[in-house]
C-alpha cells in the first residue's frame, strides 16, 4: 500500500497555464513599465518645454529641459562635482548603514521585551515628533560643518522606520514557532539564527526601503543648512550664483542617485526572502 495519493501529491502552485505559449496580454503585463515609464517621462519633458515656450518663462525661473540637460553634461565633466557627489554619497551610505544597525538592534531589543519597549518608547516617540530638521543647527554646533553632522541627521531621520519594522517582525513570530524550537531543544543561538533572523528579514527590508529614501533626504537637508560641501550645498551655491540650470541639473543628478539607491535596496528582497509573499510577482 503506498501512501502517496494523486490528489494530494500535486503541489498546489505548479499548475501550468491553461494554454501553451505566452499571450500578448501576458507579455504586455510583464513589460508594461518598460513602455510606460519612458513614455511618461517624455510627456513630462514635452509639457515642461511647452510651458516654458508658450508662457515665455524666464530661464532664471525655470530653464528649458535642454538647458538643464546641457548643464548636467557639463557638470558631469567637472571634478568638483564628483568630489561633492562622493561626499554626499558617503554621508548617505554611512548614515544609512548606522541607521540599519541601530534600528535593527533597538528593534530586536524592544520587540523581545514589552517592558523595555514601555520604558524606551516615550523617548523614541519624542525623538520622532520633534521636527528633526530643527536639530541640524545643534548638530553643526556639536560636530562642525563636516560630514559628521550630516551623518547624524541621516541616522536620526532613517533609523525609526527600521526599528519600527523590526519590532513588528519580532512580534510576528508565532508562539507555536517558538514552541517548536523549545520542543526540539534548540539553544539560544539556534533560535536567533534559524527563527528570529529569517522571520524578521522581510519586515526589516520594508523598513530599510523606507530608510533608504529618508537617508537621501537627511543628507541633502543637512548640506542645505550647513557647510559648503556636497550636492545639497551645491544646490544652494548654484542658486546664489543664479545658475538655475545647474541647480536643476544637480537636482536631477540627486534624483537619479536616489532612484538607483532605492532600486538596489528594493531588489535585495527577491534575493533575500524569495519565500515571502512580498517577493512574489502575482
Amino acid at each position: 500500500m503506498t501512501m502517496t495519493n494523486r490528489d494530494d501529491a500535486s503541489p498546489v502552485r505548479s499548475m501550468a497555464p491553461a494554454e501553451g505559449g505566452r499571450s500578448l496580454r501576458e507579455l504586455l503585463d510583464t513589460y508594461l513599465t518598460w513602455i510606460t515609464t519612458p513614455l511618461l517621462l517624455l510627456a513630462f519633458i514635452a509639457l515642461w518645454k511647452l510651458y516654458v515656450v508658450v508662457l515665455d518663462i524666464s530661464p532664471f525661473m525655470l530653464p528649458p529641459p535642454e538647458a538643464v540637460a546641457l548643464a548636467l553634461v557639463e557638470l558631469l565633466q567637472e571634478p568638483f562635482f564628483w568630489n561633492f557627489f562622493r561626499i554626499t554619497v558617503t554621508e548617505i551610505l554611512v548614515g544609512f548603514g548606522l541607521a540599519v544597525v541601530v534600528g535593527a538592534g533597538l528593534g530586536i531589543l524592544l520587540g523581545r521585551s514589552k517592558l523595555f519597549e514601555r520604558i524606551a518608547s516615550p523617548f523614541i516617540v519624542a525623538s520622532q515628533v520633534t521636527p528633526k530638521v530643527a536639530l541640524m543647527p545643534l548638530f553643526l554646533l556639536w560636530m562642525g560643518f563636516g560630514m559628521q553632522s550630516k551623518i547624524a541627521m541621516v541616522v536620526l531621520l532613517s533609523f525609526f522606520p527600521v526599528m519600527k519594522a523590526t519590532i513588528l517582525g519580532v512580534r510576528s513570530i508565532g508562539s507555536e514557532q517558538r514552541d517548536l524550537f523549545t520542543v526540539i531543544r534548540a539553544p539560544v543561538w539556534k533560535r536567533l539564527l534559524s527563527l528570529d533572523v529569517p522571520a524578521v528579514l522581510p519586515y526589516l527590508l520594508t523598513g530599510i526601503e523606507t530608510a533608504s529614501v529618508l537617508a537621501v533626504t537627511g543628507a541633502i537637508v543637512g548640506e542645505y543648512l550647513g557647510g559648503n560641501e556636497g550636492l545639497g550645498a551645491m544646490v544652494v551655491m548654484t542658486l546664489n550664483a543664479m545658475r538655475v540650470d545647474q541647480m536643476f541639473a544637480t537636482i536631477v543628478a540627486l534624483a537619479i542617485f536616489g532612484f538607483l539607491f532605492y532600486a538596489v535596496i528594493a531588489s535585495i528582497r527577491k534575493i533575500a526572502v524569495p519565500w515571502h509573499d512580498s517577493a512574489q510577482n502575482d
Partner: protein
Amino acid sequence: MSIAADPTAADRSAPSGQPAPAREGAIEIDGITKVYDTKGQRTLAVEDVSLEIEPGEFVVLIGRSGCGKSTLLRTLAGLQAPTDGAIRISGQSLYSPEGKAVPEVIGDLGFVFQDANLLPWRSVWKNIALPLEVQRMSRPDRRRRAEELGELSGLSEFLDHLPRQLSGGMRQRVAIMRALAPEPSILLMDEPFSALDAITRDELNMALQLIWLEFRKTVVLVTHSITEAAFLADKIVLLSPHPGRLQKVIKVDFPRPRPLELTKDDAFQSLVAELRTELGE
C-alpha cells in the same frame, strides 16, 4: 513506496547496540492539574487527570473544544509545567521540582502542531531536518535522513519545494516527518488533521496508521473527530469539559492494519454511537 514491504522496517524502530530500558516510550500521568492565571483571572483547565500509557500504544484524547486537551498535551510536551501532579516519560520525571522541563526527557518527544507550523523560508527537506541540526548531525546525513523520511511519506519529489508550494495535507506530512526525524520514542499530535478536508484527512489517518505500525512509537493524538478517534486508537481517552477531567477510557481492538472501509462496519458504528452518547452529542 510500500511500507509493509520495507525490509529495514523492523530494525529502525529500536536503535541496535544499546539496551533500551524496558519502559522506553511509556507515559505516566499522575494527578495532573493545570490552572492558568492570567491577569488575576484563574482558569482551571485540567483537574486531577491520571493516566498510564504503554510503550507503543496509540492513545487518542477526545473531548469538546475547551476541555483542556491542548493543555494536557502541551504539559506532556514539556512546554508548560502542571500546577500540580507529576509526569514520567520512559520512567523519568519530565519536570524538575522547580517546574523546569528536563532537556534529556523532552529530547525523546516529537510534537506535531495543528497547522503544520513549518518554517516558510526553509525547503521541505530542511524543515524535516531542523531537529537534526540541533543535534549537530552533518549536512549529508541530514539530507539522507530527510530523503528516507520523504520516501516514506510520499514527499520525495517535493523535498526541495518551499512549504507554500504544497497543499495542506502535504504540509502536515512534512510536519509529521519533522517530528519523527530525531527518532523520538513518543509522538504527540494536537489536532494535526483538523484543518484538512475529509478526503485528505482519511488519507493522512491511513498514512499515520501505517507509519505507526512500522515504527511503533507511543502516540498521543488529540482530536475532536469521533470517527478519527475510533479509527486510529488503541485507547480512547474522553475528557469532560469545565474543568477538564478524565471521563472515560475506552479500549479499541479492531485488528490492524485497519482499512478505511472499517468505518462502515457495524461494530465500528456502534463504537461511534457510544462515543457520541458519552460526549453528549
